[in-house]
Symmetry: C2
Subunit: 594 residues, 2 copies
């Protein structure tokens, strides 16, 4: 092998341009491909900025020509050459009009034939890609994603720094909370028999930083959750984490709208209009059947209870007794939504716990095929059509349920499904909005008690404080979620800063004072010594990057991701460890031999 | 309690100045102190920027005056008032010439009397401070440290970004290496019986990123080491971690000298001259008895072997047979270094494994009291005095040892001890240098084999490659440490990029090919597919902050530090966890009942 010793790189491959015609430059990189045309050899040399073509011909020094002849894909080269115009230009490359006529060539490293070609165009199975992640990361798309992720994170730090947020590192080795079922635990060698936990979020620490007077905190924070992974969850993930003192909702929202505006301009050169629309939770559920509505298309939910209030059709009247009947108009989708397709949609809504899906297909010739209209009066049908703005060519889809949320959620999911299937979504759009006025509590049938919808430190609305005891289900939280294109990008709340209200909150959640103390003891104690009103927010960074760059999976935006069973295929972790290591930690594995 | 609702903060306390005389401003903060003078009340209100004085008098609205009367230390207030000139100005405060005449006052939070006063001037025991860390963090000095740490980290990111380094997150849940005795382990719930490790550094991942073609990587990386903590170690610590492709030592050093220059200018407004001096390891040991020499003062080690080569004094001749005799001249310290003090220094050098300390005290009147001169010839004494530049008033301190490194190290430590005790060190100076040409291997008596001085991926000097087999002890590594004021600030190396040399390296370290594969398998495999020459560096961020800000402990530069037994006193972690949690993870604790 040759060495880099004394070689001067002057340029990145992708940045050599026709402005340098006639100049000598030094570049380094990987061989993308070599083409041997007998008395001519061309090599595409690649680095993270792009590709430059190297040219060798009859006039090339023979030693150099011979080395070029042996070069294979993924060899690593250092090259000096003269920039000259290309004979046949390649308009697909940003510098496809020039090439380097090579005057010095060093083969710094040879390469075996990789298990797959380094190209965005080649289909390779995911497992192989992940096993050789360092090769897959050489692909242009993945490289650009990681480079843009860096730009996104840098823009976040620049923005919040300019707004006087201080980045403060909170610990990774923390205390496990008793309900921390999804905590990763870390046995301590020094304190045998005791454990740390990895943080699911820096929530308590960031609140303590407000108590400590830091006023504005931010951190790009690593968080951990040990759970069976859904398609798009990682056991370790990254948050943009924020907290501010002496603020209310409007302050937090304004500074974060400013962030999104700055971020999109800086990284994508896209203007995001601010302020964002704000949608109270109830309205989001009523109009979109979702607390993270996708507003890139219409097809809003229509509440049909008024129209159907006197219906004798048992499916509707039964639902209306305690719940609702809601519908959407799949406008102009008559020919797309055949009976058979609708049967599939019936199955779809059932996965959302709806009992069924009623429909009317309005043929262009005015005839109607409906699963339910025969059970309604003529006036009811006319009113229902009017409410949904029905016209020939439309398909009406209706869910009735004794539980309003179930009906809304199922139809909301259907709305997105239909829009996705039939191309109603403008995939280039970035639609932001806030969802506000979340319920403070949700009732857990399983536990037979109210639980906090966000977390137990979320403040109630000023005017709803009395509801904590009187009617917990109606109390609204000072919480807000930022939604982008139907995904929750981030969320936060104003926190409880009054120890009395915090106590009432814990009581409503069914904690005894002892339990509250055991779980949140040091935070509660801290609240005795002066608390600035404070609130904050956290963004899922991985998802933010994914949505900004239109990537289809979280894995595509993380350099070394884990797969669904929480293992990493490249290094093969988690793995068994020596018994000696476990002995040191005073632990043992307890496995059922199967 | 009153609320912040509708209150507009316009300024930070410390930033209200006389430029705003007559204006109405809104500020928020903690009560530093309240002084009640009967018909006058003054409150010092504190936030992270400083303090502003609030004034209440006869003309103040009675309700407001009454609230001010009840305010106690650490109450949290929101205040609106008019900026006016102070009657008695306080030159110690940056805005001590003005005060706020208060027209609106809200008590946002009351506070119990804290367990210690929030003041840099009060002595409080460390344990109490750490237990109430959120209160200790309110102290100005600790606040400024954390705020400056943010500036330091921001400057690092700005600098390396401008030099086209890409920040890439490497995983926290990784694979344990078999020799990872100090790895923290994390049991996996999804993969029962298997474990992750927390990284001691991202070394392998950053090398893989170079193989993946990212060219320049940086990360502010969390690292973990489970060991009994020395005074200034933390179980979790932070590195500024770097790696570059297609570089040699000079490239890495230049970009990092540029960083230090930028950092010190940006954060402290101090000009650091570059390039830094470079000291080969052998020279550093010979002149300073240390591989991280403190060059803020002289008193260099003097090699006395030539002068004493024919000495018949057994202590010297015995040492010289296999080792050396070295001395320093404690210039002008005759009256300070009494016999008794020297006895203490003897004990001191013994902790560094020296067998003893020879001395000569040269009185101002010309008489000499020496522990060894009587055993030398007159010429030997004269030559020794000349070599050390001895004059009346000096004290000569000499260590002889059959092991050169032991003699140098002990005397090097003594040099620093004496300089520290007698004020020879310019505490305001920042002296940077590089130590280079480290040995590639060091011989481990314990293991009976050579071990890597840095790590097994460190490249040997080009011209020393053959020594890997022929004379490992003489092979030099392409490693470099950045030293500031006698502390290692960071270090790094050019890595091995040739798989053949890597193999020879593992062999020299006594690994069988199977062992090498087991330990570093995926990295070795990766090296088959094309490797850019690469090298890098890592700084200990906590220590960098400590040295820049002249703090005396690592704890003072970390928001939520752990103490020596690796526990955190505020939250009380590590802690015992429920058996149910361990069952979920399929592990059990194995404790000897004592």
């Amino acid at each position: 092998m040759e060495t880099i010793h004394g070689f001067a790189r002057t340029d990145y491959c992708g940045e050599v341009t026709s402005a340098q015609l006639g100049q000598t430059v030094g570049v380094c990189g990987f061989v993308q491909k070599q083409r041997d045309l007998g008395n001519l050899i061309f090599i595409d040399l690649r680095d993270r900025t792009g590709i430059v073509q190297l040219a060798f011909d009859d006039s090339t020094d023979r030693t150099i020509f011979d080395k070029a002849f042996t070069a294979r894909a993924e060899y690593v080269l250092a090259v000096r050459g003269t920039v000259r115009e290309r004979e046949s230009k390649n308009p697909d490359l940003k510098n496809g009009d020039i090439e380097l006529y090579v005057t010095e060539l060093r083969v710094l490293s040879k390469a075996k034939t990789p298990p797959f070609e380094i190209s965005d165009k080649v289909q390779v199975n995911d497992e192989l890609r992940l096993r050789y992640r360092y090769l897959d990361l050489r692909r242009s798309e993945l490289q650009q994603t990681i480079l843009l992720r860096h730009r996104i994170v840098k823009a976040a730090r620049d923005y919040y720094d300019r707004h006087r947020f201080v980045e403060i590192e909170t610990p990774i080795l923390i205390k496990s909370t008793p309900e921390g079922a999804r905590d990763y635990l870390v046995p301590s060698r020094v304190n045998k028999g005791k454990f740390y936990a990895l943080p699911q979020s820096p929530q308590m620490y960031k609140q303590l930083l407000m108590l400590a007077g830091f006023d504005r905190y931010m951190q790009i924070a690593k968080c951990f959750r040990d759970e069976d992974l859904r398609a798009d969850r990682q056991p370790e993930f990254t948050q943009i984490d924020l907290e501010m003192s002496f603020v209310e909702e409007d302050d937090v929202m304004a500074v974060n709208e400013g962030f999104i505006k700055y971020l999109f301009k800086e990284v994508l050169d896209i203007d995001v209009p601010t302020p964002f629309a704000r949608l109270p939770y109830r309205e989001a559920m009523a109009r979109y059947g979702s607390d993270k509505p996708d507003t890139r298309f219409g097809m809003e939910l229509c509440d049909l209870s008024a129209v159907l209030k006197d219906s004798t059709f048992q499916v509707f009247s039964g639902a209306l007794a305690t719940g609702t009947v809601v519908g959407i108009n799949a406008k102009g989708l008559y020919s797309e939504l055949s009976r058979k397709k609708i049967d599939k949609l019936v199955d779809f809504v059932k996965t959302y716990r709806a009992k069924g899906l009623a429909y009317s297909r309005l043929a262009p010739d005015g005839t109607v095929a409906s699963s339910f209209e025969k059970f309604l009066t003529e006036k009811e049908v006319a009113d229902l059509h009017a409410a949904l703005g029905a016209e020939p060519g439309d398909v009406l889809l209706i869910v009735a349920d004794g539980d309003t949320a179930t009906a809304q959620t199922a139809l909301g999911a259907l709305r997105c499904e239909v829009a996705g299937q039939y191309g109603l979504i403008d995939e280039s759009a970035y639609n932001f909005l806030w969802v506000t006025e979340f319920p403070l509590f949700e009732y857990s049938e399983e536990e037979g008690r109210y639980t906090a919808m966000h977390h137990p430190f979320t403040a109630p609305f000023y005017e709803d404080v009395a509801l904590i005891e009187q009617d917990p289900g109606r109390a609204r939280a000072r919480a807000y979620d930022m939604v982008l294109n139907g995904c929750e990008l981030g969320g936060g709340s104003i926190r409880i800063s009054d120890p009395d209200i915090q106590e009432r909150m814990f009581e409503a959640l069914g904690f005894t004072p002892e339990q509250a103390k055991e779980r949140f003891g040091f935070l509660l104690e801290a609240f005795q010594y002066g608390v600035p009103p404070h609130g904050g927010m956290a963004y899922g960074l991985d998802r933010l990057v994914m949505l900004m760059l239109h990537r289809s999976s979280i894995r595509d935006v993380i350099a070394f991701p884990k797969v669904q069973n929480a293992s990493e295929l490249m290094s093969g972790c988690p793995a068994q460890v020596d018994k000696a290591q476990l002995d040191e930690l005073a632990i043992a594995t307890v496995l059922d031999e199967a």
